[in-house]
Symmetry: none
Subunit: 216 residues, 4 copies
């Protein structure tokens, strides 16, 4: 969240309740007004807080929304549904469900759009929202390895690359399906997606690529 200067000892302390109220008001505003319609004046009014209070804690709309949205995605958990495929489907459906909430799609896409020209913001989005969800991929793989569905890691570097790839594919596909194609990422779709993803992960090395090009 925002940088808290612990050096200040004197004076009136900041209201702790205000933070939560502001973030909730932000999400409420996103639901009703969308990203571009959201104004900090409105957030302040909703939270029963002065605009100054808000600017004292966040540097602007971007950062505020990042924090407000991040809390949403932290709800994701990895369910144990008995198999790797089912676990993947479960996470995908959870992710799709969150992305269906208006505050999530508005807020996320808004900050992503801004982050195309603001590296600091993109980094903040990545660390506050995206990167921390890789825990799901890691946990899923670990559980699959326990079950014997996947072999243990060999090359740690290669392993990290694969996690990134899977993450981009999963998150990207759900976002594109939901926000661009405008169709529901439902169970059937999740099954099809998981099918393709899993086969690629579990099949060692193909012969379809022309000679001279190995894949993994």
């Amino acid at each position: 969240m925002q940088s808290r200067t612990p050096a200040s000892r004197t004076g009136r302390p900041r209201s702790a309740a205000a933070d939560a109220a502001i973030l909730a008001a932000t999400r409420e505003g996103l639901v009703e007004l969308g990203w571009s319609g959201l104004t900090l004046s409105d957030v302040a009014a909703r939270a029963g807080v002065a605009k100054t209070t808000l600017y004292r804690r966040w540097s602007g709309k971007h950062e505020l929304v990042v924090d407000a949205v991040a809390e949403l995605f932290d709800e994701l958990v990895l369910p144990d549904r008995g198999s790797l495929a089912a676990d993947i489907e479960g996470v995908v459906l959870q992710f799709a469900a969150i992305l269906n909430r208006p505050e999530a799609k508005c807020g996320l896409m808004g900050v992503v759009a801004e982050s195309t020209r603001d590296d600091a913001l993109r980094e903040r989005v990545r660390t506050s929202i995206v990167e921390r969800q890789k825990r799901l991929v890691l946990a899923g793989r670990a559980r699959a390895q326990e079950r014997g569905e996947l072999p243990p890691e060999a090359d740690p570097e290669e392993s990290a690359r694969t996690v990134d790839l899977i993450f981009d594919m999963a998150a990207g596909a759900v976002v594109h399906r939901t926000l661009v194609s405008g169709k529901p990422a439902d169970e059937e779709w999740a099954r099809g997606f998981t099918h393709i993803l899993l086969l690629g992960l579990t099949t060692p090395a193909p012969n379809l690529t022309p000679p001279g090009k190995t894949v993994s």
Copy 2:
């Protein structure tokens, strides 16, 4: 582009040159100012055109940027690189190259962000930008079938679902890699992506895995 009513026979005709100038100015503005920094006043000034002319043809920033960005993605072609895998890699890299251009990422994410609260806009984005690129998937599959890399279609409905799925996965993965993860979608990445995608497509595994069962 905007709907042209051919019923108007009288009056001064609209300048054809203005359209091109405006769209080019829009892209230029996106490069320099980004989505949120782009103003229609600035576009008009760049294009040497009055603001009213702009509003006469487009209803606002959203629609204008959709048209301006759509022209970028129409540059995509399907190269014949000898195999399905190589073809996919080629298209993915082309797509990544376009998405690396600032006007493309700014503009695309900007309109997508807005479209989360505007169904008409999302439909416009879909038809003007996204949907027409499915031609690449269709052409790639046809060529692969000629080569014998893929079997001919059996169920047309299932086939359409697969095209959609592939498209969401490909477009989504590249976008997420480029814009969120912030890492380059380079040849190595494209190879990994293609590997996973292709195996899933070519392995005749059971498509209907019951929930809770393993896949491979």
Copy 3:
């Protein structure tokens, strides 16, 4: 009215009906929209005429309204009510009646306001609207002289000055009463006004002005 170039012999002649329609539409527009609300596009539409036609004949809103309003004041006539006082009262009431019509007050004050910074326009207002109403003062005086109520003119220069003064006093008082004070210039008021005006005109020379200052 507008300058007509008689040098043009060939080609389609201007529609005579259009002029009248335009002036009528102008007055109609003044009634409904007022001076500042009046637009030439609206006038053109009301008159069933293209904007170009309008600009071909008048150079702008100012001149058009001058012509449109001038026609209103040309309705003034000098009634023969038997005495100078009654004649003055009659004309004053007529003038007040015209000035009560919204198109008259709107239009007149509008062009007068503009004319404070445009000498050519003020001259046009004076010659087209104001000056020609001095005929009423002249006719009234002539009739009073016939009746023997006023002596014949002695000094023609002095006479002209007096006509101007009376005119300014009469027109100014009615305008101020109607438009600024916002009270009706009714019969009682006209009687009071006429009383003061006439006494001053018919009394030869006062002694109230301090020595060394003669009035007439």
Copy 4:
């Protein structure tokens, strides 16, 4: 000026200096650009103030100019020139001098023109500018009564009517002379005007001349 709600105790108080700067800038703008050329953007820029500050205090151009012009006419004073006639001449010349200033004529006629379609505005013009100058008529009469030039009041209602009439005649005549006839309201003219006005006031002629009868 604008109504100040003294109930507001909290928040940053309005800058008092801004008011004066804005009104001065308004007059400056009137001088250079005239009524129709005056824009609130320009006024704001001149006053070194944001447009919003301006709109926060005045509802529009009309009200702003009323206040700006009102200050001009508050400069009028009643000089003691020894006799009623001389006093009247003095005030008339002062009024003419103010009306000769471009900001005064532009502004006054502009708001009067607008007020022909806006009763609230006319009332504002009347109370803020016109009505308060009746003090001059009242003071002049009182002084003349002290001198014995005029008898004391008999009927207070009749007295008020006379004040109104004198005021309409004086103000109207000067305005018409200056702005419509376009000739200077100089000493000679003022003498002539005063002559007529005073005779009417001091001659105890029958006030109720039946219509159709001669006066003198």
